[in-house]
C-alpha cells in the first residue's frame, strides 16, 4: 500500500485515486453526458478513396438537418503549417470541399434526435463521385507518374529529409555488411473509449462549451477557435473522463470542428460518439513504415555505419498540431537507438496516400525504428556468428559515457543501458534456456529475442520547434491552493486519460506539503479552471506538470510554514511538516488551523503577513529541452509452431528505468498496457487496404487485438537512475512499454526459426507470414541443394 519506507509521497505504491469511480462504473465519459434537448450527429462518409464530388443534394424536408461544406460559412480547414523548408501544407476541411481523399472522409453532417435516426438521414443524402486513381501505398505515392493527392504540390511528399554524417568510405572499408527490407503494418489505436464530443452554448457564460474526449484540452481550445474564427475567450473545452488516448486524442479532429460549429450557430447541445467502425476505418491510423537498411560492422559486430531509407504512409492530410512530418522526423532521429553510432545516413519520405491521416500513436515512430534497428543488430550478430546480446553489448552506449550526445544530437542524460540488457538476459534465463533442445515437447521451435531502446520523454520547446510544429510546448503550469479547512487543491491544464495523474500529481504535492494524500484533490483539463498546459502526450505529464506541481506546492508549503510559525510563535525556519501537522518542537498546528487563520480569522495574523496567500501558480520545464531519456531492455521467449505459424509468448521480461518513480504501481500499469499494445503490433494488429484504398479491416473480426489469453505475464524489474535535469529526477514512462515488444518478439521468432533458415521481416508476424517465410527458406535451401 505504501512506499517501502512508508508515506504517500514520491515513490509510494499508493492505489490510484481515480480507481474508485472507474471500478464502480461511476466515471463520466463523453457518452455518459445527457443534456436537455441534446441531438445526435452522424456523418456521411466517403465510400471511395479518391474522387471529385460532382453533385450532392439534401433530402427533401431535411434541409435544416443536413450540412455540407458550403453550409459551414467562415469555418477554416485544419491547416498545419511547419517551419521546416520543403514541408507541404494540406488543407483538411471539416467537411469535404469538392474532393475526397480517403474512404471515411466526412462529406455531410446529419442531425436527428438519436443516432439511429441520424444514420437513417445519412442514407438519404445523395452524392455523385467522379473517381480519381488511388494512391494506396507509400510506394505507389512515390512513383514518378503517380496521381497527385494535392495537385498543387507537384508530388505526393509532405516532406523529404536527409541526414548524412560520416558515411563516406564506410561501405568500402567495413568487413561486414547486412541489408534488410522491413515493414510495419498500418495500425489503429483502439483506446477503449473512442473519440466523441458534446458541444453546447452556455448562455450565462457566453461560451461555447465543448466536452470532448481529448488529451490536450487547451490545444483544442486554440484549434477550435482558429478554425471557427472566434475568440478563444468564448470557447471552453471541458473534457470529461477519457478512456485512453494513445495519441489519437491529441489532435484536432474534423468532427470536433463540425459539431462545435453546430452548437455555436444553433445554440443547442449536439453530440457525436465515434463508433468502432468509424474508428477502424476512418480514424486513428498509425505505425505504417517501410525501411531499407544497410548496416556496416566490424568482425565483432561493432556498428560502423548505418544507411537507411524510411517511408511513412502518411495518409491524405496532416493532423494538427503534430503534423504529417513528426513521424518521419522521429524515425530519422531515433533510428540509431541506444547505440554508439558514429556514421549515419538517413533519408525519410513522408508520403501522402489515400488513407486516413496518420496520427502519432504511443511511442511515435519508435516502435518502428526499434523494430528496424533491433532486427539489424540481430542480423549483424548472425553475420559475425555471435549471440545477439553480445553484439548489443558491443554497441550500447556505456554508463561511463553518460551524459552522451548521439549522432542525431539526442542527449542521453543518464542511465546504464548495458546493465539493463544483462539483467533482462538473466531474468529470461538465457544461459539455461540456450542449453535446452531447440524444440519443445510439442515440436514447436523455441527462441529468445532482445530489444533495447531509449525513450525521449518530456522533450520540450527547442525539440518541437526544430520539428517545425505550428505549436510548441513551453512551460507547464500548475495551481496549488490550501483550502480554509486545510485540504489541498491542485489544478493543471494537462488531462487525465487513464495514466494515473490524479494520483501521481497528488503524490508530488504531498511530497512538498505533507498534506495527507486523501486531502489532496487534483482537477485537470478544463480550460475554464485550470492553468495552461499543452497537454498529455510525449510521455511528458509527470515530468512537466509534475515539476510544475512540485514548484507550486513548494511555494505554498513555504507560506503554510510562515503562517504556522506565526500561530506557533516561532520562526518559519523552526517549523516542520510531520504526521499531517505542522510542528515546532512538541507544539503543533493543523493545516486547517493555517487555512482558517488566512481565510477566516485574518485578525489573528500580524499586519505584516505575507500577502501572497495560500495559493500559487508555478510554471516549469526541465533544465534541458532535449527531454529526459528513459530506456528499457525487453526479452521475449517464444514458441513457434512451424506447422500452423502460430506463436506463443512463453515468457517476457522487462528491465526499465524511468528515473525516479513517483508511483511504481502506476509505472508498472503503464508498462503492462504499453507492452500489451506492443504484442498487438508484433503479432496481431493490421489494417490492410486494397488497391482501391478500401480498408479491409472494418470490424474487430478482421482487426485482431490481443486479449488476456494472448498476453504473457510481463515480468518487470526497475532500475532507477535519476535524471540530472528534471525535478526529482523523474523521467517519462507513458509510451515506453509499447516500443520494444515487436522487436523483441520478432527477434525471438527469428531465433526460433533459425534451424529452418527462415527469417521474418514484416509485422505483424501472422501465421501466414511465418508459414510463408518457412516455405521460402525451404525453397531457397532446395535451390541451393540443387545447385
Amino acid at each position: 500500500m505504501t512506499h517501502e519506507n512508508g508515506g504517500e509521497g514520491i515513490g509510494a505504491r499508493v492505489p490510484r485515486k481515480e480507481d474508485d469511480r472507474h471500478l464502480h462504473g461511476r466515471g463520466q465519459f463523453t457518452g455518459d453526458i445527457r443534456l436537455p434537448g441534446m441531438r445526435d450527429v452522424a456523418f456521411l462518409r466517403s465510400p471511395v478513396a479518391h474522387a471529385l464530388i460532382t453533385r450532392y443534394s439534401k433530402p427533401q424536408g431535411y434541409e435544416n438537418s443536413v450540412f455540407f461544406h458550403g453550409d459551414l460559412a467562415g469555418v477554416a480547414p485544419i491547416t498545419t503549417r511547419s517551419s521546416i523548408p520543403g514541408y507541404k501544407v494540406s488543407d483538411y476541411p471539416a467537411l469535404a470541399a469538392g474532393r475526397v481523399r480517403f474512404v471515411g472522409e466526412l462529406i455531410a453532417m446529419c442531425v436527428a434526435n438519436n443516432r439511429a435516426a441520424a444514420e437513417d438521414l445519412c442514407e438519404l443524402v445523395e452524392v455523385d463521385y467522379d473517381e480519381i486513381p488511388v494512391i494506396a501505398s507509400s510506394k505507389a505515392g512515390l512513383q514518378r507518374d503517380a496521381t497527385l493527392l494535392h495537385p498543387e504540390w507537384g508530388d505526393n511528399l509532405f516532406l523529404e529529409t536527409s541526414f548524412d554524417r560520416g558515411m563516406d568510405g564506410i561501405a568500402k572499408a567495413a568487413p561486414v555488411a547486412v541489408e534488410l527490407k522491413l515493414s510495419t503494418a498500418r495500425q489503429v489505436m483502439h483506446p477503449m473509449e473512442g473519440k466523441g464530443l458534446v458541444a453546447w452554448w452556455d448562455h450565462r457564460a457566453g461560451q461555447l462549451v465543448v466536452h470532448t474526449s481529448t488529451q490536450v484540452p487547451h490545444l483544442i481550445r486554440i484549434g477550435l477557435a482558429e478554425c471557427l474564427g472566434i475568440p478563444q475567450a468564448i470557447v471552453r473545452v471541458s473534457p470529461p473522463d477519457v478512456g485512453g488516448g494513445f495519441g489519437y486524442k491529441c489532435m484536432l479532429m474534423p468532427e470536433e470542428i463540425a459539431v462545435a460549429w453546430l452548437a455555436l450557430t444553433q445554440k443547442q447541445p449536439f453530440r457525436w460518439i465515434e463508433d468502432r467502425r468509424e474508428h477502424l476505418t476512418a480514424g486513428a491510423n498509425a505505425r505504417q513504415h517501410e525501411y531499407k537498411l544497410k548496416a556496416y560492422a566490424d568482425e565483432r559486430g561493432r556498428l560502423l555505419g548505418l544507411d537507411a531509407e524510411v517511408a511513412v504512409d502518411c495518409g491524405a492530410y496532416s493532423v494538427w498540431p503534430f503534423s504529417a512530418c513528426l513521424e518521419a522526423a522521429q524515425a530519422g532521429g531515433n533510428l540509431p537507438g541506444p547505440y554508439d553510432l558514429k556514421s549515419y545516413r538517413c533519408k525519410t519520405y513522408s508520403v501522402a496516400t489515400n488513407k486516413p491521416p496518420f496520427a502519432p500513436y504511443r511511442g511515435v515512430a519508435r516502435p518502428g525504428v526499434c523494430f528496424a534497428i533491433e532486427l539489424t543488430i540481430d542480423a549483424i550478430a548472425k553475420a559475425v556468428g555471435r549471440e545477439a546480446w553480445e553484439v548489443r553489448m558491443e554497441n550500447l552506449v556505456a554508463a561511463a559515457a553518460m551524459p552522451y550526445t548521439n549522432i542525431t544530437n539526442k542527449h542521453y542524460d543518464s542511465g546504464d543501458y548495458p546493465a539493463s540488457l544483462l539483467e533482462v538476459k538473466r531474468m529470461i534465463d538465457f544461459d539455461l534456456r540456450r542449453t535446452l533442445p531447440p524444440r519443445d515437447k510439442k515440436g514447436r521451435y523455441l527462441g529468445i529475442g532482445f530489444a533495447t531502446y531509449t525513450e525521449q520523454s518530456a522533450h520540450g520547446t527547442k525539440v518541437f520547434a526544430a520539428w517545425g510544429l505550428p505549436l510548441v510546448p513551453g512551460f507547464d503550469q500548475a495551481h496549488v491552493k490550501l483550502t480554509p479547512d486545510g485540504a489541498l487543491e491542485v489544478r493543471a491544464g494537462i488531462h487525465t486519460i487513464g495514466q494515473g495523474l490524479e494520483t501521481t500529481l497528488a503524490q508530488v504535492a504531498h511530497e512538498m506539503t505533507r498534506v495527507p494524500l486523501k486531502d489532496i484533490r487534483v482537477t485537470l483539463g478544463d480550460t475554464a479552471n485550470t492553468p495552461f498546459s499543452t497537454g498529455a502526450y510525449a510521455s511528458r505529464g509527470i515530468v512537466m506538470t509534475g515539476g510544475a506541481v512540485s514548484r507550486a506546492s513548494d511555494i505554498v508549503a513555504a507560506r503554510i510554514k510562515a503562517i504556522a510559525a506565526h500561530l506557533l510563535q516561532v520562526k518559519a525556519d523552526d517549523v516542520t511538516f510531520r504526521e499531517g501537522r505542522i510542528f515546532s518542537g512538541e507544539a503543533s498546528v493543523s493545516y486547517a488551523d493555517v487555512g482558517r487563520a488566512w481565510y477566516i480569522r485574518p485578525d489573528e495574523l500580524p499586519d505584516n503577513v505575507d500577502r501572497s496567500g495560500l495559493e500559487a501558480t508555478a510554471a516549469y520545464k526541465p533544465e534541458t529541452d532535449n527531454g529526459v531519456f528513459s530506456y528499457a531492455s525487453h526479452a521475449a521467449y517464444v514458441a513457434v509452431d512451424a506447422d500452423t505459424g502460430l506463436v506463443e509468448i512463453l515468457d517476457y521480461a522487462i528491465v526499465e528505468d524511468c528515473g525516479r518513480m513517483v508511483n511504481p504501481m502506476v509505472v508498472e500499469g503503464q508498462t503492462y498496457g504499453g507492452a500489451a499494445q506492443g504484442v498487438g503490433t508484433a503479432l496481431f494488429e493490421e489494417s490492410p487496404y486494397d488497391d482501391n484504398g478500401q480498408p479491409l479491416a472494418s470490424t474487430l473480426i478482421d482487426y485482431l487485438l490481443p486479449g488476456p489469453t494472448e498476453l504473457p505475464r510481463f515480468r518487470i524489474h526497475h532500475m532507477e537512475t535519476l535524471s540530472p535535469y528534471s525535478a526529482h529526477g523523474i523521467k517519462g514512462v507513458g509510451e515506453g512499454g509499447a516500443i520494444a515488444p515487436s522487436a523483441a518478439i520478432v527477434n525471438a521468432i527469428n531465433d526460433a526459426l533459425s534451424p529452418l533458415n527462415a527469417v521474418l521481416r514484416d509485422i505483424p508476424a501472422t501465421p501466414e507470414r511465418i508459414l510463408h517465410a518457412i516455405a521460402e527458406a525451404r525453397h531457397n535451401t532446395a535451390d541451393k541443394d540443387a545447385a
Partner: protein, 279 residues
C-alpha cells in the same frame, strides 16, 4: 452503428413464427441468441422489416431421444451444451467443441440452431455436425418438416438450404457406441476468434463409422474419405500420412498457408483421437 427501424415480435409457437415468416414475404429475420444478427443489424448489413424472436418457443427447446438418435431443439445455447445441461451422445465431443466457441458471454446467448443457420464456414457447429453425420431438421408451415444431412446443409458461405420461410427447428445427433473416439482441432489466431482451419475426425468401430473432415473453408466443410478409409484400415497414425495429399487434391483452390493449416488441423485431430484423453 445503430440498426434501422424494425418491428419486433415474439413468437409463442413454431407455427406462429413460420406463419409470420411467410406473411412477411422474405422481409423478416429470425432472432434467437442474437450473436450474429445483432452485429449485422447494427452494421446495417441485415435490414429486415421485422425480427421474429423464437427464444420463447417451447418446441425449440424439446429433446427427443431414441436408441439411435438424440435430437435437440434449435435454441439450446453453446453454454448449455458446454455445461452438460443436455445429454451428450458423442462421448464428450459436443461439450469440448462448445467450450471452444467464442467467449463465454457469446456462448451464454448464442444457440446451436442460430449458428448453423448463420452458416459462417468457420463456425464450430458447421464442421462438427457435418463430421458426426448429424441431420438438420427444418420446419416450414406449408410442406412441414424436412431433414437435411448436415454435411450438405451449407450451399456456400453464409448460405444454406434454408428457404425464406424455413426455420431450423432441431438437430438430430447420432448416438455413438462406447467405442467411439474423436478428435477436434482448430487453428485460431487468438482465443475466441473464428478458426482459420478446423480438423475433426471420429472413429466408431462398433458402428463402423469413420469420418474425417476439414472445415473453416470458403464454403461448406469437406469430408476426407481417403483419410477416413485409412483411419479405418490402418489407424490414426497411418491416416495422418495421407491427409496432406487429400487436402491438396480436394482443396487445390485454397492458398498454401490455408491448406497447410487445414492439413495440420486434421492431423492433430487424428493425434487427439488416438490419444487416451478423448475416449
Amino acid at each position: 452503428m445503430k440498426p434501422a427501424a424494425l418491428d419486433y415480435a415474439r413468437a409463442r409457437t413454431l407455427d406462429e413464427a413460420t406463419d409470420w415468416l411467410a406473411e412477411s414475404d422474405g422481409n423478416s429475420k429470425i432472432f434467437a441468441g442474437g450473436q450474429s444478427i445483432g452485429p449485422m443489424l447494427n452494421l446495417r448489413l441485415a435490414r429486415p422489416g421485422k425480427l421474429i424472436d423464437i427464444r420463447h418457443v417451447p418446441q425449440l427447446r424439446m429433446i427427443e431421444a431414441d436408441s439411435r438418435v438424440y435430437s435437440i431443439g434449435a435454441t439450446w445455447t453453446h453454454a448449455e451444451i458446454e455445461d452438460g445441461m443436455i445429454e451428450d451422445p458423442t462421448r464428450g465431443l459436443l461439450p469440448f467443441v462448445a467450450r471452444g466457441i467464442a467467449y463465454r458471454a457469446v456462448r451464454n446467448r448464442g444457440t446451436i440452431g442460430g449458428s448453423l443457420s448463420h452458416a459462417d464456414p468457420a463456425a464450430d457447429w458447421v464442421s462438427t455436425m457435418a463430421a458426426i453425420g448429424a441431420t438438420i431438421v427444418v420446419h416450414n408451415s406449408k410442406p412441414g418438416l424436412r431433414r437435411i444431412a448436415a454435411e450438405s446443409f451449407l450451399l456456400g458461405a453464409f448460405t444454406t438450404q434454408l428457404g425464406s420461410t424455413d426455420i431450423l427447428s432441431s438437430v438430430e445427433i447420432p448416438r455413438f457406441s462406447p467405442d467411439m473416439r474423436w478428435g477436434y482441432y482448430k487453428v485460431c489466431r487468438k482465443t475466441g476468434e473464428f478458426a482459420k482451419a478446423i480438423g475433426t475426425c471420429i472413429a466408431d468401430a462398433r458402428s463402423n463409422i469413420y469420418r474425417v473432415l476439414a472445415g473453416a473453408l470458403n464454403g461448406r466443410p469437406v469430408l476426407l474419405p481417403n483419410t477416413a478409409e485409412r483411419l479405418k484400415q490402418d489407424g490414426a497414425e497411418q491416416a495422418m500420412g495421407v491427409v496432406r495429399d487429400e487436402i491438396d487434391d480436394l482443396l487445390a483452390h485454397l492458398d498454401n498457408p490455408h491448406r497447410q493449416q487445414l492439413t495440420v488441423a486434421v492431423q492433430r485431430s487424428l493425434i487427439q483421437l488416438a490419444s487416451p484423453r478423448s475416449s
